[in-house]
Amino acid sequence: MDVIPGGMSANAGAVAELTHLHQHLLEVRDRVRHAAGAAPHDLPSGWSGPAARAFLRARDDLYAELACVHNMLQSAAGLAETALWAVTHD
């Protein structure tokens, strides 16, 4: 195992960093999921016409983007977890 100045092994450094990343990725993923869930998903009433349709389109695009963000955070967290497993079993 490589040892870096300060006495900590390179693996230990990677483990600390991956753990840190993994924790924050999970935290941010949960916050994004919660925020997206709390956002309005029903249609605004009493408003019609092209402007209303444009609003709905923009809002749907936003939610699609949020779903994508959530999936990417999930993937990153999964990857960090896998990397952590790999490093600790190296």
Binding site: I4, H24, R31, A39, G46, D61
Partner: protein, 497 residues
């Protein structure tokens, strides 16, 4: 238009409120405004998440413990994925914030254009009214003939049907009650608002005033709804109506109420009812006592008690209505000022003025006077549209869209006021036992309950401080006051109170 139900909140509530710093007013359903608030809040949360990720990835680079060439390839991959996510997260945050603010701005600009169109329409209508006034004067004789024929027709109908003209008038009244949708209709309200606003144009034409001069006077506020109301009072005085008097006010009872209002419903339930209360009190003043702080006051002012144009002893009458719309001193307003003085309200006392119908007009007039430290004005169905309240005073104006009374004061002049409107009879039958059911206090109490459920920041920003105005009071002293007109030669000489 969607047929889905409104999301929870102020169902069926329409809100007109200023956008701070823009000079624009946004008008939209409470449901939509609360959605825009949610989107703005979503944007803030996403931005905060992006900041966390950005900080984490930045630490990961600068403080990496793994030396060059020793870093596990998975870590680099995680970092690459986090950076891509961060980019997308930032975009989503911008999009959410932009959507919330952008739609609000678009709605405000749309409302601004609509108001300009209404203003142009009003100018055109006023021009037509001027021409009409001129024509009426020019062709007074033929019109008098037409009027004579019309009156003759009524008398003839009465003779044929064997009923008196008064019976026929009663028939018309019954017809309007049975066909309640004619009067209880937002369209009728709109027409009345425009007709009231055009009355001065008609007068200018009738008096052969040059159109340019009439337009300038109207634009400068020299003429308008106010001058029309004053003309009616002046004409009435020539035939013995609207006689000016003095006014007295005295306290009839005082009691400890218990707790300050914590909702708009509480406020709407606090008005005295001069027609049903045994003493006929029109004013209630609640004092909030909290050790170490100056006393705060809530003043509740009732509506019109009689529409009789002949002056009696009731100051909350038609004369006070018309004089108030004409922005002249009124007996009812003087009575409220006297009651406030006797109750201990000073110019430094924090006070919230609440008014129903004529009471709302009085509340606005007192706030406009600048004599008190007014922390808020709350009106229900008040003909107070033309009273300029200083922008520093929060104003919550509650209206039922089918209520004719607020329309009799014309178009709103307070762009900083938050105006909430509800269609009170859109989905239910119009009662036939009262002439203007949408003006009933009980219907306004229902509307207040809807406003209390409002979630939009526009409404909450004005309502929440009102709900906490009396918070912390250790005692609430309530007093009821009754006002009566009295002969007063000094007052009569100045034509006021």
């Amino acid at each position: 238009m969607t047929d889905l139900p409104d999301p929870p909140g102020g169902q069926g509530l329409r809100v007109a409120a200023p956008i701070p710093g823009s000079g624009l007013v946004v008008v939209a359903s409470d449901a939509l405004l609360s959605q825009l608030d949610s989107l703005r809040s979503l944007g803030e949360t996403l931005q905060s998440c992006a900041d966390v990720l950005s900080s984490v990835i930045s630490e990961s680079h600068s403080g990496s413990l793994a030396g060059p060439g020793t870093e596990p390839p998975e870590l680099a991959e995680v970092r690459r994925l986090v950076r891509a996510t961060l980019q997308l997260l930032g975009d989503a945050a911008d999009r959410a914030t932009g959507l919330g603010c952008g739609v609000r701005g678009t709605l405000a600009r749309y409302e601004n254009s609509e108001r300009q169109i209404v203003a142009i329409g009003h100018l055109a209508a006023e021009g037509i009214a001027e021409v009409l006034g001129f024509e009426v004067r020019q062709f007074a004789l033929p019109l008098a003939t037409i009027a004579a024929v019309a009156i003759g027709g009524v008398l003839l109908s009465a003779a044929i049907t064997g009923r008196s003209p008064a019976d026929l008038a009663g028939d018309v009244q019954t017809f309007l009650k049975v066909h309640g949708r004619i009067l209880t209709n937002p369209l009728t309200v709109m027409v009345i608002r425009e007709l009231v606003s055009d009355a001065d144009g008609f007068g200018a034409g009738f008096m052969l005033e040059p159109p340019l001069l009439a337009t300038m006077k109207s634009a400068r506020g020299i003429t308008g709804v106010s001058s029309s109301a004053n003309t009616v009072v002046d004409l009435g005085r020539r035939i013995g109506l609207f006689e000016p008097t003095g006014v007295t006010v005295h306290k009839t009872s005082s009691f400890e109420y218990g707790s300050p209002p914590a909702s708009l419903v509480d406020r709407s339930n606090s008005f005295p009812r001069p027609l049903t209360d045994p003493n006929g009190e029109q004013i209630r003043i609640d004092r909030y006592v909290e050790p170490g702080k100056p006393d705060r006051f809530d003043v509740y002012i009732a509506g019109t008690a009689t529409f009789d144009p002949k002056t009696g002893d009731e100051p909350f009458d038609l004369q006070s209505d018309l004089s108030g719309v004409g922005q002249k001193p009124t007996a009812s307003c003087q009575a409220v000022l006297d009651a406030m003085h006797e109750a201990g309200v000073t110019q430094h006392s924090p006070v919230v003025l609440n008014g129903y119908s004529q009471g709302g007009l009085i509340a606005s007039m007192i706030a406009a006077s600048g004599q008190y430290d007014v922390k808020g004005v709350v009106t229900f169905g008040a003909p107070s549209a033309q009273v300029h309240v200083p922008p520093s005073i929060p104003v919550l104006t509650v209206r039922n869209s089918e209520d004719l009374v607020p329309a009799t004061s014309g178009y709103d002049v307070n762009s900083h006021a938050v105006v909430v409107t509800r269609d009170a009879f859109a989905h239910r039958a119009v009662p036939s036992d009262v002439a203007v059911p949408a003006h009933e206090l009980s219907v306004y109490q229902e509307t207040a309950a809807v406003v209390d459920r409002s979630r939009s920041s526009e409404v909450r920003d004005v309502l929440n401080p009102l709900n906490s105005f009396g918070a912390g009071a250790t005692r609430v002293d309530s007093t009821l006051w009754v006002a009566r007109r009295v002969p007063d030669l000094a007052s009569a000489a100045t034509g006021g109170r």
